[in-house]
Amino acid sequence: MIVGSQKSIDEIWDMIKGFKKVLVFGCNTCVAICHAGGEKEAETIATLLRMRAAQEGKDIAVDFSSVMRHCEPEYFEPVMEDLKKYDLILSTACGVGVNFLSDRTGTIPVYPGVNTSFYGAVESPGNFVELCAGCGNCILHLTGGICPIARCSKTLMNGPCGGTNKGKCEISKDVDCAWYLIVERMKKLGTLEKLAEIQPARNWSTSRDGGPRRVSLEHIRAYEEKEAANTDSAGGKK
């Protein structure tokens, strides 16, 4: 899931204070699970912003609502008309949701209420950890299921650096050395010798280095495009 954390009320206030009618718009999937931007947090932020507006003597109406996901257009459809009543939408979805929604709201700005952090897991309640960097070329089968790209501070591909120290990374004693973990895991799995195999140089074009990415499933697209071609602008079959 995508992990995010709420922006401070001060930062949000600076974004919204010039507007009159603001909607704090929650997303009830990833950011809800990490207690950053689900409906509950959207209502909490809305309440705090109204209190702040009262403190500052500003006349700003702040409401809240939410949908299940901000990253698929169908979820917006039932609320699109409601969204148009506001002059600012503060989305508490991840950056994906903010982008995706702002493409659809015309002249109404969509601002972020959450800092999108990483792809992560719920290690324990309230504890979220980054485990994948979305590089587009997965090698976890070669590294004992531990990703050096996401979990090594330097994204090293060929073993630990000189900063490894009794299993910890030099940046902090609270951060594990990913390569230490990889070696220990592969010992346990009995696959340590795999590390000796020579790997070709990595192609980073599948990651951010290749520019904005898109996954297009031909088998689904072909059908959808055919349907679109057979449908007139009023939605009827041609």
Binding site: S8, I9, D10, N28, T29, A32, I33, H35, G38, E39, K40, E41, E43, T44, T47, L48, R50, M51, R52, A54, Q55, E56, G57, S66, M68, V122, P125
Partner: protein
Amino acid sequence: MAAESAIKMKGTHLQRVAALKETRPYSPCRAACPVNTDVQAYVGLIAQGRYNEAFEVIRSVNPVASVCSLICHHPCERACRRCSIDEPLAVRPLKRFALEQASEYRRDRRALVEKTRDRSIGIIGSGPAGLTAANDLADLGYKVTVYDRHPALGGMLVSAIPAYRLPREALKEDIDDVIAKGVEVKTNCEIGRDISMKELSEKHDAILIAVGLSLSRSLNIPGVEGPGVMLAIPFLEDVAFDRKPDLGKKVLVIGGGNVAMDVARSARRLGVKNVEMVCLEGPDEMPAWKWEVEEATEEDIKIHHRWGPKSVVREGAKVKGLEVVKVLSVFDSERRFSPTFDQNQTTVIGADTIIITIGQMANVSFLKDTQVRIDDRGRVVWDPKTQMTGAKGVFVSGEVVTGPGAAIQAAASGHRSALAIHLYLQGESIEGKLPTYEKEKISDMPADVASKIGREPRMKLRHLPPKVRCESFVQFESGYDEKTALTEAGRCRGCGGGAVVDAKKCMACLTCQRVCPYGAPVVSAWSEIRPEFCQACGLCAPECPGQAISMVSYDVREIRDTMASIVGAVEPKRPDPVIVAFLCMRHMGTSGFSLPDNVRKVPVHCTSRIDIIDILKAFECGADGVAVVRCSTETCKYKGIEDRVSARVDRAKQLIGMLGMEAGRLEIMNSDSGAENPYSGVCAGFSGKIKQMGLRTNK
């Protein structure tokens, strides 16, 4: 107590809850009630001091509510899931309490129902079945006339239930509710004597026979004819209408059922010191309720068990006693009633008067020469699927066809007949449309849940001492006072009132599963909260990040949505700080509400239901300080909630800190359960601290 605002919610929250509950398994108490009274709902409302709403819940399904509050055999209590912890909830006494508290409201709400339908129904008999049907049909806008042969309405309730159990004033409340709707009443009017069935069918579009079982069965034994031998119903009628029967010095009651108990205990109250009973059954076989037997025993009524009547012994015309024969067994191997006797073992129990109380039957002589068919055993032939007799438009209800039962069972039958009549008059089919009152119910309390629930003794009812109560027909049971009632209501585990997940909002995040102390939620594609585990504490709802959890028994948004009116106007130059105090009602009793005006009270059944947003809302509405006052860990009705609530308060402190507010404006504290008012001290102390801190101001 907030009653006015609470009643206003009638059209919204209570109805929403009722509709939601229909989609879910019933609490066992509700499923056990012959009219499915929502016990959990009204007990919950009592616990919140919302007595008028509790009355509404009760009265919505039970037109003989006052009667049931005093004499119901309360199957709800036997079904109570608290039985697997300690003792069942005292449901009947709580019902009595609610009705007593709401008596003024009840009288005020009585109103004529407009007659919107030009059809008329004649109801013969005004017992619980007839009254219930009259109530329902009047509500539907029909013209209803009730006929009763007695000078007063109520059927057996007035003529055969002694006033020490059912004071006439209580019965009158139920009757007045029905009459007020515009039901016409013809008392002292016996069908077949004062008016014929034919005349009745000409006058009305439908007729309901609800005459109950008004004839006592007698015994076919030597000596039974003649003075000194009475039948139960005529005797009880004499008692009811103050025609004092001459009983002599010693009364012997034949029978071991509840009517026999009424007879024997009435005889004691007529001044007979020596009252004995004789029955076929042993102590554990008697059909009378156990408590009736215990109370009769307290009143010095001796019971001769396992003797069967053989002959009435007379000296001349005067009764001297009853010859009885030893019973060998009462039931056969298949538990069918089939007594066997040892004819060699007999004795005589002396008595001046013998009262036979061995069962009743219906008096249906007025149906002779009508199209209503009577079978060879003297019973009305009817179709239980339509409540109709063989005669078109003539319906039947209550004990006359169901056989002996409780008032609330007759009321259920009355509901069915009323609907049947309505459908019939609308020209619609009836079959399959009448309520069966058989609903899926929540299963037993899982053992690991029961083990997490503290034992709390059931609140006892006070009875007049046996010596005093035998001196008159004064009601011998005292109802609960408010403190006792609120304590007892707090024992309810809220079965069926717990958490419900809106699958459209749930993202299966596992939060509820992690926080629930009872293991109720199971999360797969979405969370399902198992009602047999849920204790309705409300801990999960405020934690749900998708706000997908609601509580059946209360509105999770109620506090924040009504906070502005709770806080009210906040004057800029207020002498004292405005404090919003969330108060655990656990020890609130009646005094908890008496706090200074600057403390705005938000009673909650447990602090576990308080949401961070509720707290913020209090500040938003202008509170200078917010106190969360809980009971102690030892007394908390729920387990394992304290740290979660504290964590919530800490988070709320952080959030107000982001707005530059002092964390000290919010505090969680324990109530002083030892003090007479468990809240006044802690609230005063907190109020003082906030006063020192200063009032909040906005630009």
